[in-house]
Symmetry: C2
Subunit: 156 residues, 2 copies
DNA sequence: CCGCATCCCCAAAGATACTG
DNA sequence: CAGTATCTTTGGGGATGCGG
């Protein structure tokens, strides 16, 4: 844990609030894997290469649009590679690039933590909500409510 | 690395695309620390307790609104604690709860990775952009345009 | 089958002003 | 100082349809 602190200390030599120009590495990483889908993609690809359609089925609640975009971004950053087979109809295979592989370990640490602390977090949430009058619906807001009933946009 | 895979495998017993009801732990974690500010908060608090205003100065480009909200969410999930000193004018101190402390290690792993691979990522980006005709500005659209000229938010 | 483009909408976040 | 309330903006992302 003390070496955890050292890593964090090392980082915080960068000013924490610096969204412009020389962005700190952490923000970069966060913006990359922090979004809704990137990490899921990487995890799927960690197991084996996938075709576009396979990925779509694996993460069934992503739209084709976001799938494409996420994959592009990951490719752009050198985390995954894209192989086109000029068959008919065409097939495209995505797989983890070395850089992406190197991300697996730190990611696994996080996943592990999530798995272990998942329960505690929900317990804390329940406690908080009951303590704080359950009006948390306004206070803590939108995000949470949104997350819960994520069937959302069942509009048209 | 093989144990990294095992963690990921273990996770992927959960269906990867399951944004509703019984959300998988990973999504939960991502939604919590994946957002723009939470991780910064945690890092600041990892060093020492902070008052509200201190946090605001530490991460100068967050709005008071988002600061409050982020802190509330983190508190709700039991990652940080909030102590009110009924002085005049009032003071509020935030500090890492044990649960939050336990997050430091996995987070440090990620930060570490970010630090190491930061350069590779940017190299890959540059390569991709020059290869793909630099028309990536249209192609991959909105987000990338923002990312490319990482001076982005120099709106003011 | 893969992926790009267009349209459109809503939730998330910034700005601003006000309270205890 | 530490928030809260409100108003406005914007851009992320879903739906859909076409092109290779």
């Amino acid at each position: 844990m003390s070496n955890a602190l050292s890593a964090i200390e090392r980082f915080s030599r960068y000013p924490l609030g610096e969204s412009q120009s020389v962005c700190c590495p952490v923000r970069d990483v966060l913006d990359r894997i922090g979004d809704k889908w990137s990490m899921l993609m990487i995890m799927a690809l960690a197991m084996r290469p996938h075709r576009f359609g396979e990925l779509h089925r694996a993460v069934h609640d992503i739209s084709k649009r976001m799938l494409t975009q996420t994959l592009r971004d990951l490719e752009r950053d050198g985390l995954i590679t894209r192989h086109v087979f000029p068959t008919k109809p065409p097939g495209v295979e995505y797989r983890l690039a070395p850089l992406g592989q190197s991300l697996l370990e730190p990611m696994a640490g996080l996943i592990d933590w999530a798995d272990r602390c998942y329960g505690d977090i929900h317990a804390a949430r329940a406690r908080f909500d009951s303590t704080h009058g359950d009006a948390s619906r306004q206070a803590s807001s939108t995000r949470l409510a949104g997350k819960i009933s994520t069937g959302a946009h069942a509009r048209r």
